[in-house]
């Protein structure tokens, strides 16, 4: 039994408290206290349901030098995540039921955050031949995606949506038109012209989202079950508008945005530091503002990290050769709590929703609220501020675009079904 005393409660339904939260048998037993062996003083802190990340690259199997299940899932619980969806673009890609099972079993034995693997939509993520969606679902896959690659063949994507629909599996897309994007390494526009870097135009994202929404319309017309399309790491104003219109028209589409697209812009590239090289690229201030609007009005369902660790040596290559990706599992919540809630007054309730019920809905999971009888997957967040120190990361990617940023809202206690998996109360 654990008792968290005098703590404010925040979930998708609102803020209340203070309460004395009694936890036992993996559940919240009471919000009005009780006897417990372990008592945690929650004064000044707030308690939220455990976070769910829809989009993380844990690199296992095949690229354990960048990250592995242990380092990645430890980083997750330190970031307040109790549940995490791993992307299938490993080496080899996760495209068989055996591979899904192996990941789930290994992660379960670690006893950190719970792993929900996404599986490849197509064999080897080549975009040509569909994977066995039914068997993948049975093995524990929660999402199908060829993330990292773009689905060039719209017919295959349509068939994938149709096959996944009766299983209740969403299909997630990395929406960029490969031809328009070419070899772009940053946002296309005057700054790319000035810096002499190949540009990846915002239109590449918008064009592909527009196409994929038509593919979804086609699948919807053909399928008795509802096909569900999830747009990953939305980065542009125009892309956001397309998703907003589609949602208004009642299309079954969901979307996520990343911590980096919400807090950084292309201006960061002025120092020619490949730490800021990511796909889709960091965009302009207008795009960033549009994404914040999208978080508020529900066009965006979730904040997902797209945690993409690489070795420091790789990220110190030149801008043409350094790999794409920014790691953020350990800073995502404090970053947005500080930059959006504290500095801009973004409602805390909605912010927490974007880390909890929002992503849960994308996967078709029931909401998780702080109430008697609810599963005790929880995160205790402290308002105490401290600077981001990448050298202390659990992730193998010990660098960060936000190094030195002073943030509050750090997770000091994370519980998965009543079990403490991260503790930093001192």
């Amino acid at each position: 039994m654990i008792l968290i005393r005098n703590v404010r409660l925040v979930d998708a339904r609102g803020e209340r408290g203070p309460a004395d939260v009694l936890i036992g048998e993996g559940r919240i037993l009471s919000l009005e206290g009780g006897e417990a062996k372990q008592v945690v003083d929650g004064t000044g802190c707030f308690l939220a349901p455990g976070f769910l990340d829809l989009h993380a690259h844990l690199r296992e199997p095949g690229e354990e030098v960048k990250e592995d299940l242990f380092s990645g899932l430890l980083a997750a619980v330190r970031g307040g995540y109790t549940d995490l969806v791993s992307m299938p673009n490993t080496k080899p890609p996760v495209d068989t039921p055996e591979a899904v099972r192996a990941l789930k079993e290994k992660a379960k034995a670690l006893g950190l955050a719970r792993l929900h693997p996404a599986a490849a939509l197509t064999e080897k993520q080549e975009g040509k031949t569909l994977t066995p969606a039914g068997l993948l679902r049975e093995a524990g896959a929660v999402l199908l995606t060829d993330d990292g690659r773009t689905n060039e063949d719209a017919g295959v994507l349509a068939a994938g949506l149709l096959m996944a629909a009766p299983l209740g599996l969403p299909v997630a897309v990395h929406a960029e038109d490969a031809g328009l994007r070419r070899n772009g390494v940053m946002n296309d526009g005057p700054l790319a012209d000035l810096l002499g870097l190949p540009g990846n135009p915002p239109e590449a994202e918008a064009a592909r989202i527009a196409r994929d929404l038509e593919v979804l319309r086609y699948a919807l017309r053909r399928s008795p079950a509802t096909p569900r399309l999830h747009v990953q790491h939305l980065s542009t104003k125009r892309g956001l508008e397309l998703v907003r219109e589609a949602k208004r028209a009642g299309l079954p589409v969901t979307a996520e945005a990343t911590p980096h697209h919400l807090t950084l812009t292309e201006e960061a590239l002025r120092t020619f530091d490949p730490l800021f090289k990511v796909a889709p690229p960091l965009r302009g201030e207008e795009d960033r503002e549009a994404l914040l609007e999208g978080l508020l009005d529900g066009t965006l369902d979730a904040i997902a990290t797209d945690h993409a660790p690489h070795t420091l040596a790789e990220k110190e290559k030149d801008l043409l050769r350094a790999p794409f990706g920014i790691p953020s599992l350990e800073v995502a919540f404090p970053l947005l709590y500080t930059e959006l809630h504290l500095k801009r007054g973004f409602p805390l309730q909605r912010l927490v929703e974007l880390f909890t019920d929002g992503p849960r809905r994308v996967l078709g999971l029931p909401p998780l609220h702080l109430e008697e009888g609810a599963e005790a997957s929880l995160v205790l967040l402290s308002p105490k501020e401290r600077p981001v120190d990448p050298s202390a990361f659990a992730s193998k990617a010990r660098y960060s675009p936000w190094a030195g940023w002073v943030l509050g809202g750090w997770p000091v206690l994370t519980l998965v079904a009543g079990r403490i998996v991260h503790e930093a109360l001192k």
Binding site: P190, F272, D318, L320
Partner: protein, 302 residues
């Protein structure tokens, strides 16, 4: 100045002082013994992650004419082939006591990155499509020799502007010196914007009444990438005698080399009296001597 990366933040006075030094160096190069002891005891490394014989030789000659020691690192025959990173390569050179690094790379920003890794002076020898400041300096020097001043002069830069570091640095520097720079090229090879230049897809607009014309090299890769058709380019954008008649009489012709004769420039023009190509090459050494002098003299040796 600590490094020469581009001309952002440079004043016209600073550039003019550099060009004055280049004039002195040009005189040195006319002497029977073309050598001064100015940089004795300094070590200059040419670090060419992207191959370029002409620029490398020009820099090495410039350093030797000033009595510096020169070491040369070429990507093709080096530890890079064994997977060594740019950073480790530079740190190795630093450990050997290099004072200045001339860096050429196919990616924009490598010289900037280098300034975070080494203590010595960094000279941009051309980085991707971004900047080639010593080329711009030698072009400015050559144009000043021919025209006397750049104030109010119209300079046309013609060709693949989008991928050209020569155009980018040229526009930046020539406009700083008072010139009106017009960049013309096929619409698929024009950037959205280019500070210091007026962009146009109409070759005639750039050539009309131009005081000087700079022609850029058209690379085969652009055709292969489907950006432009060779015959379309030649028909619409080749600088020919006929088209050059739009410019001022005797307006000089520049080309950064190496040239594709009869692609970007009509072959006969390349050998005409208007071509300053050889003069550009000669001035290149003097300008690079001036850059090394400005960056190294007064600096503590490594």
């Amino acid at each position: 100045m600590r490094h020469l990366l581009d001309f952002q933040g440079w004043s016209r006075t600073e550039v003019e002082s550099l060009l004055d030094t280049a004039r002195v160096m040009r005189e040195v190069l006319e002497r029977p013994i073309k050598k001064v002891p100015a940089l004795q005891g300094f070590t200059v490394a040419t670090v060419f992650f992207e191959p370029s014989t002409r620029t490398r030789i020009s820099f090495e000659l410039a350093a030797r004419r000033m009595s510096a020691d020169v070491v040369s690192f070429a990507a093709q025959t080096s530890s890079l082939q064994k997977g060594e990173s740019y950073k480790d390569t530079l740190l190795t050179l630093e450990a050997m006591g290099v004072d200045a690094y001339v860096i050429r790379a196919d990616s924009a920003g490598v010289p900037h990155q280098a300034t975070r890794w080494v203590k010595g002076a960094v000279i941009n020898g051309g980085d991707g499509r971004r900047a080639h400041p010593t080329q711009a300096l030698l072009d400015a020097y050559t144009l000043l020799e021919a025209l006397g001043t750049l104030e109010g002069k119209k300079v046309a830069i013609v060709g693949d502007i989008l991928h050209s570091r020569v155009a980018r640095s040229g526009a930046e520097l020539l406009s700083l010196l008072g010139a009106q720079v017009f960049c013309a090229g096929p619409p698929s090879l024009l950037p959205q914007s280019l500070p210091g230049a007026h962009l146009t897809p109409r070759l005639e607009e750039a050539l009309e009444e131009a005081d000087a014309v700079m022609v850029l090299r058209l690379q085969k890769e652009r055709m292969e990438a489907g950006l432009v058709h060779l015959e379309d380019y030649v028909a619409r954008y080749q600088v020919t005698e006929k088209r050059l008649a739009l410019a001022k009489p005797q307006a000089p012709l520049l080309h950064p080399g190496p040239m594709n004769r009869d692609v970007e420039l009509e072959g006969t023009l390349a050998d005409s009296a208007r071509s300053l190509v050889n003069r550009q090459v000669q001035n290149g050494v003097a300008v690079r001597m001036a850059v090394l002098y400005h960056l190294l003299v007064g600096r503590e040796k490594a």
